[in-house]
């Protein structure tokens, strides 16, 4: 990349949401020294925390505790002080459903300051237009007559509960949205959430009697490609996929993965500028689905050619007895050049690479179980 186009060497802040609170890791400009901060919300089960890229100083955190109901906290001063939402995400009274926890937070379009989306467990979509102070259900999804058919019952969800995740906003059009649901599949709206259509052609659901249904799939994580919002990456319960719009048929891109590793994991992250580049973190999905690094040898895999081939990246990781689980929100990238790649494990370690995954080092350990890692250079 020409020097003039290269992102400035800004410090990186990682927001680390854990089962017992929120921590931060702040880098120097070289991303070589990291300073840990926290905990905030000690004892709270923080499922996701995000920096608002539109102003760089507003942070949101979705939390609950073992006893108490779900809520959202917001900070307007980079996490120094926090205020609880006056009206957290909640389904309509009388509808029979209750939000167990808010699982996913996504800032709305760049032209919609202070607006956010939230995805919940069980599957629900909510929107705030006041910086996260109050949340309203998106009726076009939550009250959709097909919603129950799409999502199934609570017993049809993942072990941690059925959830809505991967809320994606087209950077060219605030009304063009994608969502992922475990279970349910990927859905698209072109009218700001007023209506939704399944977008799952080509994706297997081999845990169902009919392995290519219209919906009912289990996307683990879906991302827009950097530099090309017409491309989507999907890490699914049944493999790896790529979709190039306007096509509605996902292409299977898992064939290039080694057979002894497989093409199944939880996260997938996109290079912020190169639409052909993405990272995954495969897990053992054999037998009873241990969901840990295959063979106890953790590794990322990177593609630079749109998923045709995948290259192992494990330099710095344990070469044996490394039984990691990395959840769907626990892997992320920064906006720097070269790109920094980060992941958090359920055993409480944060690992980072400042050279696009070539080499890795541990940035923090002994944290609680990590649910989510997000990076900000704001």
């Amino acid at each position: 990349m020409p020097a003039a186009a290269r992102p400035a060497a800004r410090r990186v802040t990682l927001l680390i949401a854990t089962r017992k609170g929120l921590w931060t890791l702040a880098s120097d400009a070289a991303r070589s020294r990291w300073t840990i901060g926290g905990p905030r919300f000690l004892g709270h089960n923080v499922h996701h925390a995000m920096v608002d890229p539109r102003d760089g100083k507003s942070w949101l955190a979705a939390a609950r505790t073992g006893h108490l109901g779900p809520t959202v906290f917001r900070s307007n001063d980079r996490g120094r002080t926090w205020t609880e939402a006056q009206k957290p995400p909640a389904f309509k009274s009388g509808g029979g459903r209750s939000v167990d926890h808010t699982f996913w937070l996504t800032p709305c379009h760049a032209n919609e300051p202070n607006a956010w989306y939230a995805g919940t467990s069980p599957q629900g979509l909510f929107r705030s237009t006041d910086g996260g102070a109050s949340w309203t259900g998106v009726a076009g999804f939550n009250e959709h007559p097909q919603r129950k058919a799409w999502c199934g019952g609570d017993q049809d969800g993942t072990p941690d509960g059925p959830k809505m995740h991967s809320i994606l906003v087209d950077p060219r059009d605030p009304k063009h949205l994608y969502i992922g649901m475990s279970s349910g599949g990927v859905f698209e709206s072109v009218d700001g959430g007023a209506d939704w259509k399944p977008l799952n052609r080509g994706v297997r659901a081999d845990f169902l009697p009919q392995p290519t249904p219209e919906f009912g799939h289990d996307p683990h994580c879906v991302r827009l490609a950097g530099g090309n919002p017409d491309r989507l990456w999907q890490q699914n319960h049944c493999g790896l996929y790529r979709l190039d719009r306007p096509s509605t048929e996902w292409a299977d891109i898992g064939g290039g993965m080694p057979k002894n590793v497989g093409a199944i994991g939880l996260p997938i992250v996109a290079h912020p500028r190169d639409p052909d580049a993405a990272w995954i973190f495969p897990m053992d999905s054999t037998d009873v689905w241990p969901r840990i690094s295959p063979g106890g040898r953790p590794a990322c895999y990177r593609t630079l050619d749109g998923g045709k081939s995948w290259r192992r990246q494990d330099k710095g990781f344990p070469s044996s007895q490394g039984w990691w689980t990395v959840k769907r929100q626990s892997m992320t990238v920064d906006a720097r050049d070269p790109v920094g790649v980060y992941l958090g494990t359920t055993s409480g370690e944060v690992w980072g690479s400042r050279d696009e995954g070539r080499t890795w080092r541990c940035l923090a350990r002994n944290l609680p179980q990590i649910h989510a890692v997000e990076a900000s250079t704001a």
Partner: protein, 98 residues
């Protein structure tokens, strides 16, 4: 005449009560033979300490699974239960989790 209720607050909810482990909730007594329901006491508690209700009662009006309420020594989960004035309520965050 007003009806007063002492409500004991478990530690997970004391961030709402500014650290107090017990608070007094006051309601207008409807009539000597018409005690307000538990729901009204919780609503008054939420008015005094905004946000506390949703952490213990979901949007369908049900006590959350790990929250218990005692009226005197009796566990109550039905929010329509009438509560006599001057009764002590205890909110319990049941032992759970890990």
């Amino acid at each position: 005449m007003n009806a007063n209720y002492r409500v004991r607050i478990p530690s997970p909810l004391r961030s709402y009560t500014r650290g107090h482990d017990a608070v007094i909730v006051t309601l207008p007594e409807l009539s000597p033979d018409h005690a307000p329901p538990l729901r009204a006491i919780v609503a008054a508690l939420d008015s005094a300490f905004p946000g506390i209700r949703f952490r213990m009662i979901d949007e369908q009006g049900k006590l959350r699974p790990h929250i218990a309420m005692f009226v005197g020594t009796k566990a109550v989960r039905d929010l329509s239960t009438p509560i006599s004035p001057d009764t002590e309520l205890m909110i319990v965050a049941a032992l759970s989790g890990g």
